[in-house]
Every structure is written in structure tokens, then in C-alpha cells.
């Protein structure tokens, strides 16, 4: 696979100074978590890495090539993105929604084959929404829609997964099964790069972390180095208590009486 790479990358957030430039490679098998408070630019970073937004400076590369030089179709065969927000202007069924994940792999004249439908159905099964295949997407609950969105990217079968808050709306069990699915993807040699709000999920499932401060300051590295309570408290402007459970740190906000 072609690893995704940020070279001297500065994301473009209106009204904010450049801050520090990003330089990292998301290697096969790695799971990256992006942490930061609301408005720090997590979504903008994700969209910039996916080539959906121009960076202010620097570049994003997929393997040897700059993202802006590649055709969107080539990019979408290697890079999948789970959005935080979805718009459904027109009604569509769950199966139809999962099937559009096959779009990058089909030529304009080609119809979806039985094989594509098989892939879409398997993806829905893995996300535990196969029983909803014939339902209209706009009748689903938030968590069900989230899982359909992840199933769509699973059907797309990218090497690099970008996810914007993949655990949003999900109950605890489904949060864990989604993160488990992403771990399997990484185990199979793909890479994962996701924004998360839950520090503890990040601490437990990510091997690399990127902390995005609202002033544009950033730092990144292996998870165990980045999970310093002092850095996290400054990140969120929130005092934390730390305990260790099952080999991973657990962070609990300090309650103010």
C-alpha cells in the first residue's frame, strides 16, 4: 500500500496563525488517534488529508505522489473517509447506501455486479446492520446510520481509513466492536487515522496520537509518550485523574465540588 504522508503540512483554518507544520507518515498497521477540543481543526485536518480541502502550506502525499496530482478515483481506491455529518437529500435504502462504496472500483459503463452486492452485504453484516438492508436510511437511529456509514467505507475497501468521530452515537458495545474492526483492518496491513473525543478509547486502541491544540500547536508520536496527563489537561483545559487498569491508563475528569 501507499502510506499517507503529511509533509510540512499546515491546515487552513480561517483566522488562525499557521502554528506548527505537520510531518508524519501513517505506516501500514498503525492506528492513529487525533485528540483535541472542539474547534481545534480535527475535521479540517481529516478533510485536508483526504484531499477535500487545500492546505495553507505543505502537501499531502499518497506514497510517492502528491494528492493534488492524483485523480480522485485513484485516491478513493486507496483512501476511505467516514464523515461526521451526512446529508440525505433523497431517500435511499441501507443496501443502496453501502453499495455506493463500490463506486471507486467500477467503470462508468459498468453496473454493480453480484460480487459488489455480496461485498456490500458482508460489510453490513460486519457492522451488525444487515437486518436493516431494505430500510430507508432516513428512518434509522443515529447509531445505526453511523454504522451504515462505516459499512459503506468497509465496502470501499481502502488501504487507509480516515474517520471523523467513528464512535459518535454508538452504544458502548458498538463503540468497541467498531474499534475492534479497525484493529483488524490495521492487523491486515491497512492503516487507520481517526478523530476521537473519548480519551480512554484512544488510550486503549490507538498506537499513535496527535494532539491538536486550539492555537495551532500540535504534537504527535507513539501513544504511550503522548498520554502525559499534563499535556492532556492543557489540551482540554480540564483537570484529570489518572489510574491504570488492564495495562492502559484511564483518565477521569476531576469533579469540582
Amino acid at each position: 500500500m501507499n502510506p499517507l504522508q503529511a509533509r510540512d503540512l499546515v491546515i487552513d483554518i480561517p483566522g488562525r496563525d499557521d502554528g506548527e507544520a505537520l510531518n508524519f507518515i501513517i505506516q501500514p498497521g498503525q492506528i492513529w488517534g487525533v485528540l483535541g477540543p472542539n474547534g481545534a481543526g480535527k475535521t479540517t485536518l481529516l478533510h485536508t488529508l483526504a484531499g477535500l480541502r487545500e492546505p495553507r502550506a505543505g502537501e499531502v502525499c499518497l506514497g510517492e505522489h502528491r494528492l493534488m496530482e492524483l485523480k480522485r478515483k485513484r485516491i478513493s481506491q486507496q483512501l476511505g473517509l467516514v464523515f461526521q455529518e451526512r446529508q440525505d437529500g433523497f431517500p435511499a435504502t441501507v443496501l443502496e447506501t453501502a453499495l455506493i462504496g463500490r463506486h471507486p472500483w467500477l467503470s462508468p459503463w459498468q453496473m454493480e455486479t453480484g460480487n459488489d452486492e455480496e461485498i456490500a452485504r458482508r460489510s453490513l453484516e460486519q457492522l451488525d446492520v444487515a437486518h436493516l438492508s431494505d430500510r430507508m436510511v432516513n428512518t434509522l437511529s443515529g447509531g445505526e446510520r453511523q454504522r451504515v456509514a462505516i459499512a459503506t467505507v468497509l465496502a470501499q475497501a481502502p488501504d487507509t481509513w480516515l474517520l471523523d468521530e467513528p464512535t459518535n452515537h454508538l452504544d458502548l458495545h458498538h463503540q468497541v466492536s467498531v474499534l475492534q474492526l479497525l484493529t483488524e483492518q490495521a492487523g491486515a496491513g491497512n492503516s487507520v487515522f481517526m478523530c476521537l473525543h473519548d480519551l480512554n478509547l484512544a488510550a486503549r486502541w490507538c498506537d499513535h496520537l496527535l494532539l491538536l491544540y486550539p492555537n495551532g500547536e500540535v504534537c504527535w508520536g507513539p501513544a504511550e509518550r503522548m498520554l502525559a496527563p499534563v499535556a492532556l489537561e492543557r489540551l482540554y483545559g480540564q483537570e484529570l485523574l489518572t489510574v491504570e487498569v488492564d495495562g492502559a491508563p484511564v483518565f477521569v475528569p476531576r469533579k469540582v465540588w
Partner: protein
């Protein structure tokens, strides 16, 4: 997902039946047998003139106009991700009407009126989409509002032109404003355009399906969004302009037909667009037949009938969307 051929075959059959009905009905009614005789090269000379030179071209014009309007509406709805988009509501027909009326006021006739209407429709499209685009992108609500306001502006100009026109020109102008197929002329170019566009958008169908989910999602799935949006926009404008320059301003076909079809057939553009061409054509053929026979030998403007169908549909859509 598959099996597009059956719904389309059914629609083709219905279209042919309705065209047959339309040809045999009129101030001088013919039996289906007579009609069939003429179409297969028999029949009396009078019947032949009536059908081949009067009714058939008009029916085909109605079919082409309806098909063009329905496909244009469906394309605009994908572009704006809003089922309320329609060439008439977006003020494009108003621009065409001003173009046509100015030509009539200047004493021009025939192809020059059509050409002027075509220019007016394109101008209106550029105006509405350009203004609504602004510096950002086409947000559906801004576009609909821009369209409505610009349409009101065209309405004022139309009233002004009507007030300034000599009385003997008024009936022709009024008929044109409400849609009139009696001066449609040769239907062949419009039919060819309809077939061409359907063939062109077929390979784009799946990309349009993805685009209907929003530009970011489409880009993430490998669609080059900007060029595709511009292509749809240009196509929809040309289709509308062609339809309006042929038959005057006929509203709501582009709204009603795609909506009804989506209810029955789902929202796969590879099926919906050709189905719109067939069903839109059929709807206008039926509306025109009604317009010809309701108060025969007098004729109603066909736009009246489509508006009577379209206004309740639009209000229902709006009511249901909140």
C-alpha cells in the same frame, strides 16, 4: 438494483398508447383503426393531412417538450440535492418569456422568437445560478430564494411588455406565456436532443447517484465534483431553453414527474433519467390532448393544465418536508 428494462418497457408502452390516443382525439375524432390505417400508409387524403401534418408533429412536440422539462428538472434536483428544484420555479422560464415577448414586440416571428426565448432562458440560468453561487457554493435554500425573487422580477418585466404591446399582439403573447404547442414546429431537433442527453447521462448515472449524497461524500468516493456539477448545470439549462423556446413557459413538469417516479422507482439516476424522459413526454402529451378537447374547438393553453397538477404537488412536497 438491476432490472431497469421492465419499468422502462412499461413506460414506452404507455407513451405509445398515449400518443396514439392523442393523435386520434381532437375536434374531428378518428377511430384507432383509422389512425392505424394512416400510420401504416393508408387512409383518405384528408385523414392523412390531419394526422401526419397536424396532429403527429404536435404530439411529438408535446412529448419532446415534456421529456426535456422532466429531465432538466431531475438533473437540477440532483445538482441542488433538493426535490423542489424546477426550471419554472427557478425563474428560467420567466427569462425565456421575456426574450420571446421582446421578439414578438419587435414584430419578429417563428424561429426568431424561439431563438430569443432560448437566449433569455440561458441568461436567466446564468443570472440565477451566478447570483446564488456567490463566493461559496450552491446552497439549495439560497438558490431557490434567488430563483423565486428573480422570477418575480421577470414577472414585472413581462407585465410591462404586455402593457406596452399593441392589442392585436396580446392573444399570441398570452398563449405563449401559458404554454402553447400549436406553433411548436418541427419536433425532430428536440427529440434528437432528448435522446442525445439520455445517452450522455447514462454513463454518468452512478456518479450522479453519489453526487446526490453531497459534494464532499462524492469527492471522497472518487467523483470529480466541480466538472460534473458544471456539466449538469449546462445540460439542464440547454434542455430547459430548448423546451421553452419550442412551447412557451410550461411549469411544473420538471417537478411533478421526477417526484412521482422517485416514489415508485427509487432514486437511481440511471433509471430515473430515461424514465423522466418517457413519463414527462407522456404527461405533456396527455395534458395537450386535454387542452385540445376540453372546450373544443377552442383550445386551452397546456401550461394551465400542468400548473393545475403541479401547484398541489409542490405544496404537498413542501408540507411533507417539514
Amino acid at each position: 438494483m438491476h432490472g431497469y428494462s421492465r419499468p422502462l418497457a412499461i413506460l414506452v408502452l404507455i407513451s405509445l398508447l398515449c400518443m396514439g390516443l392523442s393523435i386520434s382525439m381532437g375536434s374531428a375524432a378518428l377511430s384507432f383503426a383509422d389512425t392505424w390505417a394512416v400510420l401504416t400508409g393508408n387512409g383518405t387524403p384528408l385523414q392523412q393531412t390531419l394526422i401526419l401534418e397536424l396532429r403527429l408533429p404536435r404530439t411529438l412536440s408535446a412529448f419532446a417538450t415534456g421529456g426535456l422539462l422532466a429531465v432538466a428538472g431531475a438533473l437540477m434536483q440532483v445538482l441542488l440535492r433538493n426535490p423542489l428544484a424546477d426550471p419554472y420555479i427557478l425563474g428560467l422560464s420567466g427569462g425565456a418569456a421575456v426574450g420571446a415577448l421582446l421578439a414578438m414586440l419587435a414584430g419578429l416571428a417563428g424561429a426568431l422568437v424561439s431563438g430569443s426565448a432560448f437566449a433569455g432562458a440561458l441568461l436567466a440560468t446564468m443570472l440565477v445560478f451566478g447570483l446564488a453561487h456567490g463566493t461559496g457554493s450552491w446552497t439549495p435554500s439560497r438558490l431557490l430564494l434567488t430563483g423565486v425573487v428573480v422570477a418575480a422580477g421577470w414577472g414585472a418585466i413581462i407585465t410591462l411588455i404586455l402593457a406596452m404591446s399593441p392589442a392585436r399582439q396580446l392573444p399570441g403573447m398570452l398563449y405563449w406565456l401559458m404554454g402553447d404547442l400549436s406553433h411548436a414546429g418541427n419536433p425532430a431537433p428536440a427529440l434528437a436532443l432528448l435522446v442525445l442527453v439520455c445517452a450522455l447521462v447514462l454513463p454518468l448515472g452512478r456518479s450522479l447517484n453519489v453526487l446526490a449524497r453531497g459534494p464532499l461524500q462524492a469527492a471522497a468516493l472518487g467523483v470529480t465534483v466541480r466538472p460534473l456539477e458544471w456539466l449538469i448545470y449546462v445540460l439542464a439549462s440547454v434542455l430547459t431553453a430548448a423546451a421553452v423556446s419550442m412551447a412557451g413557459s410550461i411549469g411544473f413538469v420538471g417537478l411533478v414527474v421526477p417526484h412521482m417516479l422517485r416514489l415508485v422507482l427509487g432514486n437511481d439516476q440511471r433509471l430515473i433519467l430515461p424514465a423522466c424522459a418517457l413519463a414527462g413526454g407522456t404527461l405533456l402529451v396527455l395534458a395537450d390532448t386535454l387542452a385540445r378537447v376540453v372546450i373544443a374547438p377552442e383550445q386551452l393553453p397546456v401550461g394551465v393544465i400542468t400548473a393545475l397538477l403541479g401547484v398541489p404537488t409542490f405544496l404537498y412536497l413542501l408540507y411533507r418536508s417539514r
